[in-house]
Subunit: 657 residues, 2 copies
């Protein structure tokens, strides 16, 4: 298709029929993008965007039903193919991480099911499933990134730094192994696709390719630092503009067809803008492009020249990046680059957050590489004495620019450094990359949060960060807790349980031994029972007319059957008569739940939740009577915002979904 388009372009620029290919091009863009967007909007809205913020929240412990389903996978993968085909200013790396996670979760659930069938699973193993699936998802995300960049170590660290909330040695090892296999397999398939399966010469989809001579002089360090600051500023501008746009979308673009229409509109404008730029800008060059497979258009250029800008627009996003990093000096004029970067920046801002499946890695790299190349041109003109030397190194500046822009947008530092070092294969150049990333992160953090965190904030997901919020030493457990605690007796009436489950949204309840069945008096904590467990008990009718009789028993596999099915109280039918029956909860409670006293401070509560991965904590008084409950939502409420050097603690209002 591209080739027809190119020949049409070449022909029409002479014959003056440019509106023909323009219309065809834009038309195809709109149709394909709308299809992709419809897939996301109507099949599974969680498939929109890059998916990394969702995966991050999921791994942090937030429940997002539908995130790891087959529909989501279809919408994600189909959607991202359409988005790229539709010519949107977006990449496919975030979606690759998300779809990797979905595949991994599928494998994980399959494994859990297999285990249930074949092995006598002990009661201890019974409740580890959540962790297991999470481990699989971490591995999937890492594999996705690893396959995208051919960077297994970087992918692993990305998963650990950006996504995972809990670290363990064995998990890292497994994640690393899967990332390594993903990298190898991508390499093998791509090499086979290129006709050389034994060469293993294509370790990832995005290759920065080897820079022939990646060295730096001390004199260049100040230039790198300035570029780092620019990257931080442009990155933060990206985040802030995207934030405004996202809020606007939340308010006004609620209808499904409107979302699809917006995607179509962006596709049209992207196509139109590219076309106008290709026609109006004169960027003919006689330099040979680095990539020998690059699509070359002549347009109005003379015989031994080609139109360099159109090459950027007609290439895949990865090809565009490669051209910016490696094409020889003089391929692109300064004015051309400047206009391109401004237009592309706004298109990318507008695109990210659309209801399409789209990543932000590649657009950021392209924006950064473009203005980085501008810096390279400036350096060449600043040091005319070393002109030839610096002309060779213009790609290095593009690389630094790309890194700095990505750091300014995403604010991940460890994994990005490693990914870039792995992509370029040059350890010595890691230090400047690292310093640039660090500074662009600092500059960016001074202005706004990172893009993914901004997403999570806008979505109102109760994420627990790595460290307890500052300035909260004086907040006590008693300020946070939901009091009075809703307790259940060890032997409780069915009616009371049903009533509580219907009226309250809590997911865990302290179980107490009530003296003489009057609530709240000398009721010491005896355990914790989960909403999901209560629902399974009710569903299986584990109750009896008399309080001392235990008619049925429920087995572990029954609990497992409903695992991840999100059973609701409406799914359970209880007759009026049964409401008067009794349930003996004793065999099912988790004994010795974690408890704290009301004077426990917020930072220590935070460490308890983070360190142990808790969801519920019972607050008890001096004689072990429950007086309140704290959930992770209560902790996630406190969000510290540090902006422009000021620190502010906010208490968010997180709604139940």
């Amino acid at each position: 298709m591209t080739l027809t388009c190119v020949s049409d372009l070449d022909r029409c620029s002479k014959e003056g029929c440019l509106w023909q290919p323009a219309l065809i091009w834009i038309g195809i863009n709109i149709v394909v993008t709308c299809l992709g967007s419809a897939l996301v909007v109507y099949l599974q809205p969680l498939a929109s965007g890059s998916g990394v913020p969702y995966i991050k929240s999921y791994l942090n412990g937030v429940k997002l039903p539908g995130l790891l389903t087959l529909e989501c996978f279809v919408a994600k993968v189909g959607g991202v193919v359409m988005s790229i085909l539709g010519g949107l200013a977006c990449g496919k790396e975030g979606p690759m991480a998300h779809s990797g996670s979905i595949i991994a979760a599928g494998l994980g659930k399959g494994r859990v099911r297999l285990l249930c069938k074949n092995k006598r699973v002990s009661a201890y193993d019974g409740f580890r499933d959540d962790h297991e699936i999470r481990d699989f998802v971490s591995g999937g995300a890492a594999s996705g990134v690893s396959a995208a960049f051919g960077a297994p170590v970087g992918g692993t660290l990305f998963s650990v730094e950006e996504a995972a909330s809990f670290w363990s040695q064995s998990l890292t090892w497994r994640v690393f192994f899967s990332a390594m296999i993903a990298c190898f397999f991508t390499n093998f398939l791509l090499s086979a696709f290129n006709g050389t399966p034994n060469q293993l010469s294509a370790p990832g989809l995005v290759r920065f390719d080897v820079f022939p001579n990646l060295k730096f002089d001390l004199i260049e360090i100040p230039v790198f630092l300035v570029m780092a600051v620019v990257g931080g500023l442009v990155g933060a501008a990206f985040v802030v503009l995207n934030y405004k746009l996202t809020v606007f979308r939340y308010r006004y673009i609620k209808l499904k067809w409107l979302k699809v229409a917006e995607a179509g509109l962006v596709a049209a404008i992207t196509g139109l803008a590219s076309f106008i730029m290709i026609i109006s800008l004169n960027s003919c060059t006689d330099k040979t492009p680095y990539d020998e497979h690059a699509v070359i258009t002549k347009m109005h250029c003379t015989d031994n020249q080609h139109h360099s800008l159109s090459t950027l627009f007609l290439a895949t996003p990865e090809g565009c990046l490669k051209a910016l990093l490696h094409d020889p000096f003089g391929s692109f004029g300064a004015v051309t680059l400047l206009i391109f970067v401004v237009v592309f920046f706004f298109l990318a801002v507008w695109t990210y957050g659309l209801s399409v499946s789209s990543g932000v890695f590649i657009p950021s790299l392209v924006i950064g590489a473009t203005w980085g190349r501008l810096f390279g041109i400036a350096v060449v003109n600043l040091f005319p004495g070393d002109r030839e030397h610096y002309e060779l190194e213009v790609g290095k500046y593009a690389l630094i620019g790309a890194a700095s822009q990505l750091g300014g947008v995403l604010r991940t530092t460890i994994s990005l450094t490693v990914i870039i070092v792995e992509c370029t294969g040059e350890v010595s150049f890691g230090l400047p990359i690292m310093i640039v990333l660090m500074i662009s992160k600092w500059v960016g953090d001074f202005i706004s949060t990172g893009l993914y965190d901004m997403n999570i904030e806008v979505l109102g997901l109760p994420l627990l960060p790595w460290d307890p919020p500052a300035l909260c030493d004086t907040i006590k457990a008693s300020d946070l807790m939901n009091a009075p605690a809703l307790t259940l007796n060890k032997v409780e009436k069915v009616g009371r349980i049903v009533e509580i489950l219907r009226n309250e949204t809590f997911c865990g309840f302290p179980v107490v031994n009530a003296k003489g069945r009057d609530h709240g008096k000398q009721s010491k904590v005896r355990g914790l029972i989960l909403r999901s467990q209560l629902l399974v008990l009710l569903k299986h009718k584990i109750f009896s007319p008399e309080s001392m009789m235990q008619p049925n028993t429920v087995r572990l596999k029954d609990f497992r059957k409903y695992y991840l099915q999100y059973l609701k109280i409406e799914d359970v039918e209880i007759s009026e008569e049964e409401m008067e029956y009794w349930i003996d909860l004793r065999p099912y409670v988790t004994p010795n739940p974690y408890t704290v006293e009301p004077t426990f401070s917020l930072p220590r509560l935070f460490r308890l939740f983070r360190g142990l991965g808790l969801r519920h904590l019972i607050v008890v008084n001096d004689v072990n009577e429950p007086i309140g409950m704290i959930t992770r939502k209560d902790l996630a409420k406190f969000r510290v915002e540090s902006k422009r050097g000021l620190v502010k603690v906010e208490q968010l209002n997180i709604e139940d979904k």
Copy 2:
């Protein structure tokens, strides 16, 4: 010195006076080694060995006074120089990690002191020092490894995988940064030493150097697998033999001069063995060695030949490794290699654990590379059709052998994979390396624990592993705890505190509010006070004749002054009269200590200690009265041994030191 020795060798092998250089060589070896050993034995015994097991224990929370002192640094660095100079079969990579940690700890303590002077430190910050120093030590260890191998990512992961016990995102970032700078600076210095400071061509001390064509066919995978099993077996043999030797040393070599003498003996035998081998084995070759700076001896060889085995013995350990990895096929005969690997193996086993500063990385790599080369020779002879192809690839087999041997000895997998990938700069070859390391680890684990863990076990250090011991679900807090709990009242007599501190070794005590001053009745937990805090209070005489009066106050900086000084009760002088005085502990206790009930199970206790980094935990009954204390030693007692497929739980007897 080496050069004189070489010319002597060459001359004497013709003139028949070989005993002269032999005597000089062995004599120098003995003297230098004994000096190095004496440095370690008499200055700081903690400087012996590689130091990684000590650093690992320290970071896990074990107190090892003297580990991070200047004396230890001098003994470590001086010792390792002497060991290498003395020709022992050892490397300098572990000692580099240890000395990096010492420097880092020094910087850290300096920073803490600086903070105390310049900044009003809040009470909250007051007790974070331990963590801060530990973070510095992690960074130092990573920098050491990074400088040794030119592998910043590998060094970081080594620190995280092998050493660190707690993971945090910001820590990893700092560690990575320091590792990167260490790598860069080593590169700069070494390049400057080689006369090309701008080239940055020497990223680490140990370079595997770039393999020209590191590819593999599917047909080679079975060979790799066999090699992995061999590596696991040989590695485990190394650990087991070394274990027996260590136990023997613990029993019989206790006197200081004996330790020095043993080191001298090993130096003599190492020298003698090398000499006998050089003389008796005929390994003349006309192949040019890979390293152009390699020292070449002729000995009895003809004019255009040189003696390849003597090159191995006369080179630095790193040079020896490089020769084994890169010298062309045919440089070493199969018989030569076989004899060399057997002798070197036993020398290395004997050397590791001597009272000298010595690492185990390089000897393992050399052993592995040697038998790996043997595999390479075998493959060449197995596939005579592809003879030329495989002759070029003999170095690849040496690399696989080296990796597999190291995996079999150390059992670290993530970091070793990354280190080797970084050293060779070939991502695609990471997968076979990884698989080989994994299998050699499995095989090794089936027979024994890893070398570092074996060391820690022999030393009886109370290390808490990553995961709770298996099969311990039925062990409860009440089985573990030290009961009855030694409690202090909120206002306590000086005499009683002094008596407790003199007679007991506990480091933390629950503080209770006693009713009417009679102990043990309705005494609810009000906080926890540390031994070190009590000692500072006593030292500053914060007591008064009447129980309701509070004469002096002690400030945070007084607590800080004694931090890391390990104050003892003997250092505090209390008169008879003062014994009857009262201390009001209330301003100093840590309120709301973590408490559990006696029915808490061991795995959950374990997660509590590991997740929160606790040292003490109070066991309380139903009405919040302390009934026992659990310390990390009580948990570390339970060691699971899984050997030859069987799992065994042991309760160790850890003595107080």
